[in-house]
Symmetry: C2
Subunit: 532 residues, 2 copies
């Protein structure tokens, strides 16, 4: 397979020539009911991706399709799911798709072997193990050291071991509660700031609390510090830490096969941190909280998305189209950021997860071959749920001097189905009406003689929508964005699966903590200012 | 007073000529211990603002000072705190500084009168009233309708009635808990998504819960819907809603002087939503949770910052300097975003508040006279606490293709003073070592033969630091950013105190909810997609 920079393709040149038309796309004339109805691509689990409010017409779509084809995106995606070493810098396969693929086969139906080991079977076995563990805890068969059943499940992890699982736990909490499926309350400790773990320990009944220590390497600074802080609390409370802790790690880590834990569940180097939500990293706490069945439905939605992502026609592959429209906006229309705006309180922390997923994957400045590149890569990602954001930063989005493309999501039904009618409409209806209104307002704007009340419009957006944020819909949503980010990385010819940019900070931190001068007088002076 | 666009000043032209030197500022050579020690400005409540890692030298500082002088920033700030009608679009004074000024005088020591009414005395009287109310609730003298003392205080509000108070409550929670001052647990309901209020109601013991309804106008769609949802829950639980609800509103709103509430506390049109944290909007819930004394210390810190902001020399006025360095980065170095990165879990939601504060204030495209402008205004603001962000989006910040200036904060001591030593250092020391390391890594970068491991550096940052995040330090921090945003708005000659950009969405939402077709076929089609 040939990997080339996108700016060497014919499609790139064609897109450059189309860019002026994109920046002056006439939404007022072109965005009508017909366009809303036709610009829609089905996603897994009954969701749809609607791109009617994107500044793209047929010539643009054609050039984006050509770019996808010239960059061989689908063949490369097939290679990836089948076990090609796509994380070139670290010499690793990229196998998070395999975590959710039933039967332990790749999304294309093939086994993935590594040194004779069937990795699909390995992941499936771990899932079976933690599912059984979760069931035993939920039934009260596994208890804490005083014999009381566990009521709380606290994940201790950071980055990929925190943001994804945290966002997903919040996303499913009300859905599961309303259906009587929630048994343990999920909590999260991440920051090395000792106030984080200390306050969690002070708020919880420790004898009813199970801690899940999550670190692939087993040597994450923050996580180990928090583990010891919590162990100290457990001991002071007269509890046996080994009866209150489980681990998620790799088999070669110090946490593996360790009697300090009730049990340990395994992942491996082919599951990147920010792509690990479908592994034991997300699976243990979600299964404890909501049951292995709910987690299974979630995985089913994600697998459905992975299969749809095999489609070569951008008009039928939502993740691919979303990716290419993002490239259009980033590289040709010149927009440096994207706002993620779910109209669902359950998705309140989903933007924070996507922020990591996207910015850590594609915030890169060299290509797969380690050469400098001259085009922009991954955008800045931020967001908060609507309608909250409307009362916050939407002023900037509507009337600021920069244009930020918007990624909306919304659902016909709430998760708890508990609503009230005020002035002729339910809250859920108001929520949806606001969403529809914002898309239109951003795209079309409004003339006004008072220029302070004028809305320039021309703010492009997409909308993912469905009936309800079920576990399957959530899996579909997560995998959609994982695959979108992956496709964009392939377009840009970068390695989306390493994160060398986090290393320098770690190195300098160690120098500071070692004491005796770091060799950099400014660094030492900053340390002194902060009282290190 | 003369208000002119900044690009007409001599300083602007001078800064344009200095910009190339700014983008190639040699941090490796220039950022040393001496610079770290000298580039520091005292803030209120013992904090300091350090700008050593900003790409600015003496000529730039001189030109920024000239810009501040040419734009008359300090005289305009004086006018503002003394009651000039600075919110020109809405014809209103801007009086949030008066909320924290002891004795009811402006920060410059003058009374502020409006139609014969002493507004400082009015705000002070409201503060006395809600302080007494909070004390009575905390002592169990005011109880719910079953006679049980209140354990929870739930704010129902959105935007400025939510983000600031929520960020501040989280910021003080551990500090107050560790000192035995926390009596009620603060909660927040904001989103019109019915799952938000429904899940809060299901999680709380309603007979022990006091709801605080916050809406200046009294007609905020989300807040009224949530009020009715909660009232319904209270009634179904056999409770009398009027014994479980207080209101914060303006005296002319439908919520004022209304027997449906235990009591009502007042603000007025001169307190903008995003600037209302120091009024009853933030004061009632913070006083209930942590006591009026804690809220008073917080106000003291904010007032200290307001006084320091009167200083004309940018080298002695942290808010002014921060503002001008932001203008330097936005308009001359061309950086469209700023990341807010507090190394303090207590400040986890502070970036979300600053996001509103900054983006709603300065995300504007016309000047105070309503004329289009040709320079960039307020930047995109986002952020998460460190070290969490290090494991998320810092990859993009270190090695992405765009440069994002960084606003760091950190403290010598944790709030709970409950820590553990691992591998020779406490968690708090690790937290601070990480912060020092990141500032240096971002500024200086690192050469590497492997360009994937090369860090280009040149990422500017500032650091606010102090001993501990106390209530006074938090007040100082909040007022610093309020004044920074205000100064930037004055530089850009925009009105930072209106928000016309939120109106179009409201208007279109009403059209959708009215039914029968909005007059825009696309809007109707989006409504149909979502099942409105």
């Amino acid at each position: 397979m040939i990997y080339t920079n996108p700016d060497t393709t014919a499609a790139w040149a064609r897109l450059l020539s189309l860019a002026p038309a994109g920046t002056s796309f006439d939404f007022i004339r072109r965005l009508d009911a017909e366009r809303v109805k036709t610009c829609s691509v089905p996603m897994a689990a009954g969701l749809s991706y609607n791109w009617a409010a994107k500044a793209a017409d047929e010539p643009v779509l054609g050039a984006l399709q050509a770019l996808a084809d010239e960059q061989n995106l689908i063949p490369k995606y097939r290679l990836l799911v089948e076990g090609e070493v796509m994380n070139t810098g670290e010499g690793r396969m990229v196998l998070h798709h395999l975590l959710r693929s039933p039967g332990g086969m790749s999304a294309t139906g093939k086994p993935v072997l590594y040194r004779g080991k069937d990795l699909g079977a390995f992941y499936r076995n771990e899932r079976d193990r933690f599912s059984a563990f979760a069931e035993s805890v939920r039934k009260g068969e596994i208890t804490g050291s005083t014999g009381k059943p566990f009521k709380n499940a606290v994940q201790i992890g950071i980055g990929g071991s925190d943001l994804g699982p945290r966002a997903l736990a919040l996303a499913l909490d009300n859905w599961a509660s309303a259906r009587g499926l929630k048994k343990l309350t999920p909590w999260f400790i991440s920051n090395v700031d000792p106030d984080d773990a200390s306050s969690a320990a002070a708020s919880l009944s420790l004898e009813e609390t199970l801690f899940i220590l999550v670190s692939k390497s087993g040597v994450t600074q923050e996580t180990l510090a928090n583990e010891l802080l919590i162990k100290d609390k457990l001991q002071r409370a007269g509890l046996d830490p080994s009866r209150h802790m489980a681990a998620v790690t790799s088999e070669t880590s110090p946490l593996a096969h360790n009697p300090a834990y009730l049990d340990s569940f395994y992942i491996d180097d082919f599951i990147g941190g920010r792509y690990s939500s479908c592994s034991a990293v997300g699976g243990v706490i979600l299964s404890l909280a909501f049951g292995p069945g709910v987690f299974g439905e979630f995985l089913g939605g994600a697998h459905g998305a992975d299969k749809l992502a095999l489609e070569g026609d951008i008009r039928s592959n939502a993740a691919l189209l979303d990716a290419l429209l993002g490239v259009w906006e980033r590289n040709f229309l010149g927009y440096p950021a994207t706002a993620v705006l779910p109209y669902s309180q359950a998705l309140a922390r989903f933007p924070a997860h996507l922020q990591q997923l996207d910015m850590e994957s594609n915030g890169k400045r060299v290509n797969r071959a380690g050469e400098d590149i001259s085009y922009a890569t991954g955008p800045l990602i931020f967001g908060e749920p609507g309608t909250n954001g409307q009362h916050s930063f939407y002023q900037f989005l509507h009337q600021g001097t920069d244009i930020v493309p918007l990624q909306f999501a919304g659902f016909a039904e709430s998760q708890r189905n508990d609503d009230v009618e005020v002035e002729g409409s339910s809250s859920q209806t108001k929520l949806k009406a606001n969403l529809a209104a914002q898309i239109t307002a951003f795209a079309k704007g409004k003339e006004d003689g008072d220029r302070n009340k004028l809305f320039p419009g021309g703010r492009p957006s997409s909308l993912i929508h469905g009936t309800c944020l079920t576990p399957a819909a959530l899996g579909s949503l997560l995998a959609h964005f994982e695959n979108k980010v992956l496709f964009q990385g392939l377009v840009w010819n970068i390695n989306s699966f390493d994160q060398e940019g986090v290393q320098l900070g770690k190195l300098l931190t160690k120098k500071v903590l070692a004491g005796g001068g770091s060799g950099d007088s400014a660094l030492d002076a900053y340390g002194a200012l902060l009282g290190v």
